[in-house]
């Protein structure tokens, strides 16, 4: 039944090459931990992606309860944490996952750096990777404000203060992030939009480019 269905679609759309290209590409021995245990360092990139997917999924569920305004933000997080079934687990996954993404991404960056994998012809993929790094730090910074407790408010105040010390455009950055004279209602909705729509869109786009490039160029050879 499934075969017939697959063949019916395949005859019309020729979908086989799409997935065979992904499925059949060879994974070399030197990145396979089953052959060399030390090759586990090559898992960090995949694990970063895995954790990013956890962040996306848990984040989607958090938005079902989270209310991005200064009256309800805190109470909705409080309600989610203590009253919603498994709410503490979903929020916990998002909270701890955020830190782990950064740890894994950092390890992945170090692996690429110390194996010299960013050298020609893979310079562009390194640049995209560093941009992904920046976007993920941005996600961490904007997400930190959303629970709207004291820790969130004061950390964001300090962060915006630092950003505003940039010469010439510092005040513009501050106004863009803050949306007003103080860290308040406008800031929260801005950070919410950045955290939930703008930065994830940028992240997914950059990840797609990252993966297309690695498929085109292949993993760098053994040292």
């Amino acid at each position: 039944m499934m075969n017939k269905l697959y063949n019916w679609i395949d005859e019309r759309l020729d979908i086989t090459p799409l997935w065979r290209d992904v499925a059949d590409h060879e994974v070399p021995e030197h990145v396979n931990p089953a052959h060399h245990f030390s090759a586990f360092v090559y898992c960090f990139g995949g694990l970063t992606f895995f954790l990013v997917m956890i962040q996306v999924l848990s984040g989607v569920f958090l938005t079902m309860y989270y209310v991005p305004d200064i009256i309800n933000a805190y109470t909705s997080v409080d309600y989610l944490q203590y009253k919603v079934q498994f709410g503490d687990i979903v929020r916990g996954m998002h909270h701890w996952g955020a830190s782990l993404v950064i740890v894994m991404m950092f390890l992945h960056t170090l692996r690429v750096f110390f194996t010299g994998a960013y050298k020609a012809p893979r310079e562009m993929n390194w640049v995209v990777g560093v941009l992904i790094f920046a976007v993920i730090l941005g996600l961490g910074f904007t997400g930190y404000l959303l629970p709207w407790d004291n820790k969130a408010l004061f950390a964001t105040k300090v962060g915006i203060e630092i950003a505003s010390s940039v010469p010439f455009i510092g005040d513009l950055i501050k106004e863009f992030l803050q949306g007003g004279d103080i860290v308040g209602a406008q800031t929260l909705t801005r950070f919410f939009a950045l955290h939930v729509f703008i930065l994830p869109a940028a992240l997914l786009g950059l990840l797609a480019v990252h993966f297309i490039m690695i498929r085109r160029q292949g993993i760098s050879g053994p040292l």
Binding site: E29, Q81, W96, W148
Partner: protein, 291 residues
């Protein structure tokens, strides 16, 4: 598959001729050039990678379940005693900017030049480190700078954290999220209650003078306009079951746990000491109705 006579199965060969021959300018390395055991990505390799993923997931879920994520008290811009702390991965930068010589005389240097050069260097690493060698020990400058940066980041993070812990100890502060989690466990705060109003204990004696005093007091600021409690202060309804009038008076005057003394604030609001005595007695009358 190909051996049985069921023709529903379309045999698909690896290297199917329908995979279009595209002229690629950047042909991926053929791994058969490396002597070794290559294997197909799906399913051979992905299944192994999945096992690594499963191990990580189990460890991750253990962390999530054993450590509930923190939540302090609602943001209060007028709070002056709160020690601002960014998330741990920004601590190194935060600590770096705290050094006087970085910020006061050389704002440009601290906030812009150093992080800018560091990020720019990372972004442009492939063009700064152009040698053919890939082994880290064969490119001592690049590896040396990276190691030095790593060590300084770890050092600055460590300093920032110990400084924070030291500050907490010196000022005798229990971090808000820890305190709140403890009070919730002890039943002092009704967490998450603000969105599900539970059946309230009715107020009694609302025609008495004490009720009028209550509405002019500072109690309502934290305990809510109907003294129903908030996410950081308990409900005062039915408080008479818990404390006597004298005890309540003492709490108002001297504070209790996280609640600061309210005497001066109430006097400033125009209440008298006698009013507070009447208020304490009125609050002591607030008992839950017996069935």
């Amino acid at each position: 598959m190909a051996h049985d006579h069921n023709n529903n199965e379309k045999v698909v060969y690896i290297g199917d001729s329908r995979v279009r021959k595209v002229q690629r300018t950047n042909i991926p390395q053929d791994y058969s050039a490396y002597p070794g055991k290559t294997e197909a990505f799906i399913p051979n390799f992905l299944l192994k990678e999945w096992m690594v993923g499963a191990v990580v997931l189990v460890g991750f879920m253990v962390l999530v379940m054993s450590h509930p994520s923190p939540l302090g008290y609602p943001a209060d811009p007028t709070n002056t005693s709160f020690i601002p702390m960014p998330d741990w991965y920004f601590l190194f930068l935060y600590q770096f900017l705290k050094y006087g010589y970085v910020t006061q005389s050389l704002v440009m240097f601290g906030a812009v030049l150093v992080p800018g050069v560091a990020f720019g260097g990372l972004l442009l690493a492939p063009w700064l480190d152009r040698g053919k060698d890939r082994r880290w020990y064969k490119r001592p400058v690049a590896s040396g700078i990276m190691l030095l940066t790593l060590v300084s980041m770890i050092y600055l993070t460590y300093i920032a954290w110990t400084h924070y812990e030291h500050e907490l100890e010196k000022r005798g502060i229990e971090p808000e999220h820890i305190e709140r989690a403890r009070l919730i466990k002890e039943g002092q705060i009704n967490a998450g209650a603000t969105m599900v109003p539970e059946e309230k204990v009715p107020l009694v004696a609302t025609d008495e003078e004490g009720y009028e005093i209550l509405n002019n007091s500072t109690c309502l600021t934290c305990h809510g306009t109907e003294i129903e409690g908030s996410s950081f202060a308990p409900s005062l309804r039915g408080i008479g079951d818990k404390y006597t009038a004298d005890e309540i008076h003492d709490i108002i005057v001297n504070g209790i746990r996280t609640m600061p003394a309210q005497l001066d604030d109430n006097l400033n609001k125009g209440l008298t000491e006698d009013d507070l005595r009447v208020l304490a007695e009125w609050l002591a009358k607030q008992k839950a109705p017996t069935e």
